[in-house]
């Protein structure tokens, strides 16, 4: 009979750490159930992932997915989270065991990371993953030697095929069940005398200042070395002032003595690894040249480019067109539900709030799901196979000219469909500066929601009969809009990169992992987790804002003083003019008048905040032809063309049209984008920055177009 776990004992915590591309996440998913808890570490953009697993003796344990890093030195938020989760710093729980996932193919590099973890005296199991790939490369690993030299349990796995997991669970269970785990092995390498002296200098301060557990002298020395490596004069790392002071002092002395920390602390560890390597690894000629052969095609100047264009075209087509039917299905479903409920529920404020506010808001959130699911299906498959890194490798030269890394390409491309999935996709960018820069520029790329607005305004102001060459003016204008919006996004990257995001970008070192089949569970988990993250955080913000917007557009109620028998469309129109939004539209007229806009367009701009294409429906309501029309609606177009200003000039001149198009190209008019930016940057500051820089830029650009156009004599 299995012993019953002691209920008084707190649930054990197991950290899963390792290099990027070591199959760490696949292993994590293979060990745990279908439910992982996703959260953000407070104040930073790094996601925390935890899930539970059941072990025979230890009972239920919590697994923590530690961000993948090549080292524990903290220079990026990811690396800082990695060390904090392993040591239990900054309020995080200290793990009872650490699974260090080693890449069997790049074993030496993985051993460097393993040594760093072990130096802190943590109870470690080395999980040598992807041993099948190593066999293919002709690498024979000697687990017994590894166990002996490192003094820790070692398990070989192929996480994607679920191989070796039973033994791993057993080993982990043994380690956790052991009331008094074996003493942590001492450091595997001997620091030189000077470095040793430097490390000793921290000891008293670490004993007095450090709150988390550093049980042994070796662990304190490991933390001292970590401080020396991580604390630089410019780093924003949060460290006790006294420890920071010592670290800076020691580093300054090290430089004055002409010493080299990288050699003393990094090369020295690798020297030990190189010394052990012949006993741990036997290299035979590779049995498989799979990755070489695939790469010969996929990075080939001609074939590689062709495959790249095809895959990117497929992603674009899927987001831009093929997700359309699914979005329509969601819209119709939500509309149908609202329609059915409208007949059942008693008329009144509550019914309207529920149907037009809440249900419409839920629909407005759900409608993004198809694009998010599709994009992350592609991204997780491309990432799982190893192609995503190759795509970045191929396009990097081009992206560098724009001041970005190749990894920014897929998010930028997705922006032509919708900024929401595009901003979520920036998670694939390693470097924080590039990631934020991309997020800030993505909304300038003309997304598909702007197309109905462009179509309506072009149809109004550029008659289809007008032709330049064999193309109609409207087609040329639309083409120009897309070219110009792409250029604007690049301009923003250039300008923001030189001002707001000044400073040398951290050079990116991109690993090109061996090609492999993606793990289906990991692909599904990525799709599910990204959708859930969107629904729970961005979704709630969007929902609340939809309800607020609905209140603005529907209250206070008009209609009591309208004569009976007024047409429904006219009632709607009167209601909108009477509403808060209508009044705001009127109030802001003096502000937007220099752009060529009147109060009706003002209302449209407010309504467009729900989603840009809502502008068309709002115009329909304002002009009293009903809100269900689309951009091709003749009645709406005619009503708009008949509209005159108080002085008798038409409202919709080509110049007003161009000015409005320019405004829509630039302005941050999408609350969903703001909500998702808030989630992905974990900062209201950056969200407000995005809103304000785009709004100001849009205003100035439209002002320039309209006033410049008038000065040049256009109507």
């Amino acid at each position: 009979m299995a012993p019953v776990p002691d209920p008084a004992r707190r649930q054990r915590i197991v950290a899963v750490a390792g290099n990027p591309n070591s199959g760490k996440t696949t292993l994590f998913n293979a060990l745990t159930g279908a439910h992982a808890k996703i959260g953000n570490y407070p104040g930073i953009t790094v996601e925390s992932r935890t899930a539970e697993a059941e072990l025979p003796r230890a009972g239920r344990v919590t697994l923590v997915d530690v961000p993948g890093t090549y080292s524990l030195t903290a220079r990026s938020p990811d690396e800082e989270v990695a060390i904090n989760s392993l040591l239990g710093r900054k309020g995080l729980p200290r793990p009872d065991a650490v699974l260090v996932v080693l890449d069997a193919v790049a074993l030496e590099r993985s051993l460097f990371f393993l040594m760093q973890v072990m130096e802190f005296g943590l109870p470690v199991i080395a999980v040598v993953n992807m041993i099948d790939a190593a066999r293919g490369e002709g690498i024979d690993l000697h687990f017994d030697a590894l166990r002996k030299e490192f003094g820790i349990p070692v398990v070989g796995t192929v996480a994607r095929r679920r191989q070796g997991l039973d033994l791993l669970r057993e080993t982990l269970d043994d380690l956790l069940a052991d009331e008094r785990p074996p003493p942590a092995p001492d450091w595997l390498w001997e620091p030189c005398a000077e470095l040793s002296r430097d490390l000793d200098q921290f000891d008293a301060a670490i004993r007095e200042e450090v709150q988390f557990s550093l049980p042994t002298p070796a662990a304190r020395r490991a933390f001292a070395l970590w401080l020396m490596m991580s604390v630089t004069p410019h780093s924003e790392l949060e460290v006790r002032p006294r420890l920071r002071g010592i670290a800076l002092e020691v580093r300054a002395r090290l430089e004055a003595e002409g010493r080299d920390l990288a050699r003393e602390a990094v090369a020295a560890r690798y020297a030990k690894i190189d010394l052990l390597a012949p006993r741990l690894i036997t290299r035979n000629p590779p049995r498989s040249h799979q990755t070489e052969r695939i790469d010969a095609v996929l990075t080939h100047p001609l074939w590689g480019t062709a495959v790249f264009v095809t895959i990117m075209g497929l992603i674009f087509q899927t987001l831009f067109s093929w997700s359309e039917p699914f979005m329509g299905l969601i819209e119709n479903g939500v509309g149908g539900l609202a329609g059915a409920l409208r007949g059942v529920l008693p008329a009144g404020f509550l019914r309207d709030l529920l149907l037009d506010g809440v249900i419409a808001g839920v629909g407005g959130v759900l409608v993004f799901l198809p694009q998010i699911l599709f994009l992350f299906l592609f991204i997780s498959i491309l990432e799982g196979t190893g192609y995503l890194a190759r795509a970045a490798f191929l396009i990097d030269r081009l992206m560098r000219r724009l001041g970005l890394h190749g990894q920014a390409f897929v998010p930028m491309l997705s922006g032509y469909a919708c900024a929401i999935p595009a901003i979520m996709a920036t998670r694939t960018i390693d470097n924080r500066r590039d990631r934020f820069l991309t997020i800030m520029a993505v909304p300038l790329i003309s997304c598909s929601a702007r197309l109905p607005v462009y179509t309506l305004v072009i149809a109004l102001t550029f008659p289809a009969a007008q032709k330049i060459g064999f193309l109609s003016t409207g087609t040329l204008v639309l083409l120009g809009i897309y070219v110009l919006s792409s250029l604007l996004a690049l301009l923003a990257v250039g300008l923001l990169g030189r001002t707001v995001f000044k400073g040398r970008p951290r050079p990116l070192l991109l690993e090109l992992p061996a090609y492999r089949m993606p793990d289906p569970k990991t692909v599904l988990m990525v799709m599910w987790e990204r959708s859930r993250a969107f629904l729970t955080t961005a979704g709630t913000v969007i929902l609340v804002m939809t309800v607020v917007l609905w209140v603005l557009l529907s209250f206070p109620r008009a209609g009591a003083d309208l004569p009976d028998g007024t047409a429904a469309a006219a009632v709607q129109s009167e209601q909108l003019r009477h509403s808060y939004a209508g009044r705001i539209g009127g109030a802001i007229e003096p502000v937007i008048e220099p752009l060529g806009f009147d109060w009706k367009i003002g209302i449209g701009l407010i309504g467009a905040f729900a989603a840009r294409e809502v502008f068309v429906g709002t115009m329909g309501v304002v002009y009293g032809v009903g809100g269900d029309g689309d951009a091709a609606d003749e009645t709406l177009r005619e009503a708009m063309l008949r509209d005159r200003r108080p002085d008798g000039r038409p409202v919709w001149t080509p110049l007003t049209g161009v000015s409005l198009i320019v405004f829509f190209m630039i302005a941050m008019q999408c609350m969903s984008t703001l909500a998702v930016t808030r989630r992905e940057t974990a900062s209201w500051g950056w969200t407000l920055f995005m809103l304000s820089y785009l709004t100001v830029a849009a205003y100035l650009a439209s002002l320039l177009v309209y006033q410049g156009g008038r000065a040049l004599g256009f109507a």
Binding site: D103, V266, L508, P513
Partner: protein, 74 residues
Amino acid sequence: MTLDLVPAGSAAELLDIDPCNGLRMRLMEMGLTPGTQLSVVRHAPMGDPIEIKVRGYRLSIRKQEAALIRCRSL
């Protein structure tokens, strides 16, 4: 010579990395320590970045950074 000048398909031994912006420490942590053998697998179709193979794995690095890596042809 520096790594950016090593022709595709050739092997080289790493001598040292010029310190710049913390790159030296990061590269060393990834196993590019003095004395390590590496090979340049290919250059990207547009000439940059380059792909190297070192300690069993493949790494992409821009020429600008590769120019800081001093090495000896093998």
